[in-house]
């Protein structure tokens, strides 16, 4: 089967999301679609999957022009999509999820779950997926849930499989497993479209690479000859420095001292279990770990957002175990939160309002209860300038900015004042390559200016590149402490998976 996208153009009011995009893929090959957030990858795939209709251009399969009115038509034509956010019913079994919507029936419309189980087993065995059809989804790890999504697509006889940022949620080991699966799918004659912004993965797995920038295909590359920096330059449109440059650290006295900290999660279970560590001046400490091993709760406890169940938190020698977020802010702590849209920004507010979000209550931004919007706007414009936030004005809502620029707004707000401690959670999640470079530079310069820096990231490469010291968190505990120069991704990956 051969799939061609010819001259696909999609316009939204004020913007061209896809600009005459030409792509083709045949079964038995892996096409990587590389592009930053907002480059138009998702729009393009949604058109291919029948969710949007293109303003111009055709989808052609084996020479025949297709007209998809919805995902049903796309599935019928042999296209399958594995979304970044899984579309599974958590309380159903694997088999039930796989057949959902196309349930095998006995006579009189009775659901034939036995057949469903047999089908799931057959597919699972064919591709070495090792998925139990009777397992309940919510009890499965993320990596296995992804395989269920793959089985779902295969069950619907897909010939071309689209993966949207499939590795974002996986551990390094799971990524390796996943690549084996993808390779097996290719060997079996499936066509794969692999959407990502991670350069390493592209070089590892692609047969062909297409780079999308601002809605248009700006180039194709051969993975045998392409380099990471070359691809990055194509993606961003200018040379990008992928290395984090930093001098060796000379740590000073401890700014953050955590001892025997215990924190409960929402369900009342121990999420952080007796953790102790220090972060010192002029030092970046990185916490690595798979999402959900207590990092979120740890950061929330340190920043006053979550109650501490036991242990103590000292900031510059002062006890801040039970402080609220404002007290911690006033103690000279900058906090870049894990989820910028949920807590770091108020999306409907203007940039000015977001820039003063945690300092509005004091001079110069207010006097008594009177806000000084003039001073606030001046501060906003200063930060926009200094942190290179790409925006037409300080008075537009934060929701209008791209992910990378939204993150820069937060970084600017938090780093724009004198601080002693920086706590940054997933500082570059969903951020474009260009902004990553910038944010990393700022983090290093905070360190060099004398701050203590704590980074929490599920991106192992990021932790390795930034940290002077790495702590690995697993199941609420710190299970390893390493210096980046004396360890490898593979070793850390083992600790992250719970090996000791």
């Amino acid at each position: 089967m051969k799939l061609e996208l010819k001259g696909i153009t999609k316009r939204f009011p004020g913007v061209v999301a896809n600009d005459h995009v030409d792509l083709e893929i045949e079964t038995g090959e892996i096409l990587c679609l590389l592009g930053e957030n907002g480059a138009g990858k998702s729009t393009l795939m949604n058109i291919l999957y029948g969710l949007y209709s293109a303003d111009e251009g055709d989808i052609v399969i084996d020479g025949k022009v297709q007209n998809f009115a919805g995902p049903g038509d796309a599935i019928a034509a042999g296209i399958g999509m594995v979304h970044q956010h899984f579309m599974l019913v958590p309380v159903f079994t694997v088999a039930e999820n796989v057949v959902l919507g196309v349930e095998p029936m006995r006579s009189a419309g009775i659901l034939d779950l036995d057949e469903a189980r047999r089908d799931v087993e057959a597919i699972s065995n064919q591709y070495n997926l090792a998925v139990d059809p009777n397992a309940v989804i919510e009890e499965l790890p993320v990596g296995i849930q992804q395989r269920v999504e793959i089985i779902k697509v295969l069950f619907r006889d897909a010939e071309i499989l689209v993966f949207d940022e499939p590795t974002a949620v996986l551990t390094p080991q799971e990524v390796d497993e996943f690549f084996k699966i993808v390779d097996k799918l290719k060997q079996d004659g499936k066509g794969i479209i692999f959407i990502t912004h991670k350069l390493k993965e592209v070089l590892e797995i692609a047969d062909r690479i297409a780079v999308l920038r601002r809605g248009a295909v700006v180039g194709t590359a051969d993975p045998a000859t392409a380099t990471e920096s070359g691809l990055a330059e194509m993606m961003v449109g200018r040379p990008v420095d992928l290395m984090v440059h930093k001098a060796p650290s000379h740590p000073g006295e401890a700014v953050l001292s955590v001892s025997d900290l215990t924190v409960m999660n929402i369900q009342g279970r121990k999420a952080v279990d007796g953790v102790s560590f220090e972060v010192r001046r002029n030092e970046i400490v990185g916490i690595a770990g798979v999402q959900g091993n207590g990092q979120t709760e740890l950061v929330e406890a340190l920043t006053g957002l979550r109650e501490v169940a036991g242990g103590t938190v000292l900031i510059q020698g002062e006890d801040h175990t039970d402080s609220n977020p404002r007290q911690i802010h006033n103690a000279g702590v900058a906090h870049v939160p894990e989820d910028r849209q949920r807590s770091g920004l108020i999306l409907g507010f203007t940039l000015t309002e977001n820039f003063v979000l945690d300092s509005y209550h004091a001079v110069p931004f207010s006097e008594g209860i009177k806000m000084d919007w003039k001073a606030s706007r001046e501060e906003a414009n200063r930060l926009i300038e200094e942190f290179d936030v790409r925006t037409p004005s300080s008075e537009i809502p934060a929701s209008n900015l791209s992910g990378g620029n939204q993150q820069k707004v937060i970084v600017a707000r938090e780093f724009g004042r004198q601080v002693d401690l920086v706590i940054a959670s997933q500082p570059t999640r969903g951020v474009d390559v260009g902004s990553i470079e910038f944010i990393h530079e700022r983090i290093v310069s905070e360190r060099d200016a004398g701050s203590a820096v704590l980074i929490v990231s599920t991106e192992l490469d990021e932790v390795m590149a930034l940290s002077d010291r790495i702590l690995v968190m697993f199941d609420g505990r710190i299970v390893a402490e390493k210096r980046p120069e004396e360890t490898t991704n593979a070793e850390l990956g083992l600790y992250m998976a719970g090996a000791s």
């Binding site: 999609k10 939204f12 009011p13 004020g14 913007v15 061209v16 999301a17 930053e36 957030n37 907002g38 480059a39 138009g40 998702s42 729009t43 949604n46 949007y52 956010h85 920038r213 601002r214 809605g215 961003v236 449109g237 200018r238 957002l305 609220n324 977020p325 404002r326 802010h329 989820d339 849209q341 949920r342 807590s343 770091g344 920004l345 108020i346 999306l347 409907g348 507010f349 203007t350 309002e353 979000l357 945690d358 509005y360 209550h361 207010s366 209860i369 009177k370 806000m371 919007w373 008075e395 809502p397 929701s399 209008n400 900015l401 791209s402 990378g404 620029n405 474009d432 260009g434 902004s435």
Partner: protein
């Protein structure tokens, strides 16, 4: 999620903005969603209301079979009479305008009470109860103390605010401390306030001497809002209340968009997680928001007691506290929008009365029109489809990233 948004973001927090004005911190107004859409909604409601009026005219309906031409002209005659009477009753002369303003005052104040709640993400259905309690506070000040006018009136206003604020703070506190949803608690507190007032009005301290029905003592003249144009004709009822309402609206605008308190209110409304992260005390804010909202509704109750009526009667708030919800929605929760919507609803109420008196069309049709306005406001997609308004709010957002 709208079908034209290019990137799906399932993790985004719940979008509460549909309740709230698309207004930025400096109070800039997006004319399309805040002026054009409400105006078109009003127009649509009047058109659909006309259909109801035509359907209610049985004599003309019968004519359609035999003489469609005459039926058509009679239908238009009926509609012309009805809407003509409505318009004249609202704006056709000094007395209609006086009536419109008299009715608009408590609507504006109660509408502000709901709007402040919306701005802070809280759905205050309790304006009616807060009005009743605030009105009772003003009543006591009004008949119990004998003071000079310049002290008495401000004191009554402050009492009305405090009464409503206390009643409003209860659901705020329950929400903050126990998570009890304010929709439920405010509705229940409406019932409690209604019956409490009925009871109090039969207690000797409140009740008018010599009466057995629930009617209160009269407010002393020194606490009554002065009538504004009494010198032209004593029957013109419009009083200080409308001026107070408009001043309060300006004050609420200042509070929301120019003060730190309003910044916190709006922040907690737009994103409570973000507000908490930024160091705001969300628990305190829920109580404060509801107290301010309740106080504003209390002012509406005070307007009725020491302004329009001069006393308290059973259920003196009428349905003002519920019309206020519609009004806040129509006004997009912006104080000035609420003023405009309050004037409109005041006009509809005054005009509806005149329409009922002079034509065969009942005042119920006014309620129908008000309800239709809200249906059209609540379903902006409908308006956009009917009038082909381009939907700017749904425009796509694509990287304005580095390469630009």
């Amino acid at each position: 999620m709208s079908d034209v948004t290019p990137t799906s973001k399932p993790d985004q927090p719940e979008d509460r903005s549909s309740f709230v004005a698309d207004v930025t911190g400096v109070g800039r107004i997006d004319w399309r969603s805040n002026i054009l859409i409400p105006a078109l909604a009003i127009l649509s409601a009047l058109v659909v209301g006309a259909i109801f009026i035509a359907l209610g005219d049985l004599d003309t309906l019968r004519l359609w079979g035999s003489d469609p031409g005459r039926a058509l002209s009679e239908t238009f005659g009926t509609l012309g009479d009805a809407y003509g009477a409505l318009f004249r009753g609202a704006l056709g002369g000094i007395n209609p305008i006086s009536e419109t303003l008299t009715r608009a005052a408590p609507l504006i104040l109660a509408g502000l009470a709901v709007a402040v709640g919306f701005q802070a993400g809280l759905f205050n259905i309790g304006a009616n109860g807060q009005m009743l309690i605030g009105g009772m506070f003003a009543l006591v000040v009004g008949f119990q103390f004998d003071l000079p006018l310049l002290i008495h009136i401000p004191l009554a206003i402050v009492a009305a605010f405090i009464g409503g604020a206390l009643w409003g703070a209860i659901p705020g506190y329950l929400r903050a401390k126990t998570g009890a949803h304010e929709v439920i608690t405010t509705i229940m507190l409406n019932f409690i306030a209604l019956r409490l007032v009925d009871y109090l009005l039969t207690v000797k301290f409140f009740q008018l001497e010599g009466r057995n029905d629930p009617v209160s003592k009269s407010v002393l003249d020194s606490a009554r809002y002065p009538k504004l144009i009494e010198f032209i004709n004593p029957r013109y009822r419009v009083h200080l209340g409308i001026i107070i309402a408009i001043l309060v609206a300006v004050g609420v605008w200042w509070l929301l968009y120019r003060s730190t308190i309003g910044f916190e209110f709006r922040a907690v409304g737009a994103n409570p997680d973000g507000a908490r992260y930024a160091g705001m005390n969300v628990v305190f804010l829920y109580v404060a928001v509801m107290a301010v909202a309740g106080g504003l509704a209390g002012l509406a109750g005070g307007d009725q007691v020491v302004g329009t009526l001069g006393r308290a009667t059973s259920g003196f708030s009428g349905v003002i506290g519920f019309d206020a919800i519609a009004l806040a929605l129509l006004g997009r929760s912006h104080p000035f929008g609420v003023v405009a919507a309050g004037l409109l609803f005041g006009g509809l109420a005054a005009g509806g009365q005149a329409m009922q008196a002079t034509t065969n069309v009942g005042i119920d049709i006014v309620q129908v029109i008000q309800a239709l306005i809200i249906v059209f406001i609540a379903a902006p997609a409908l308006i956009k489809a009917i009038f082909r308004v381009r939907a700017e709010a749904e425009s796509a957002q694509v990287s304005q990233g580095w390469a630009t």
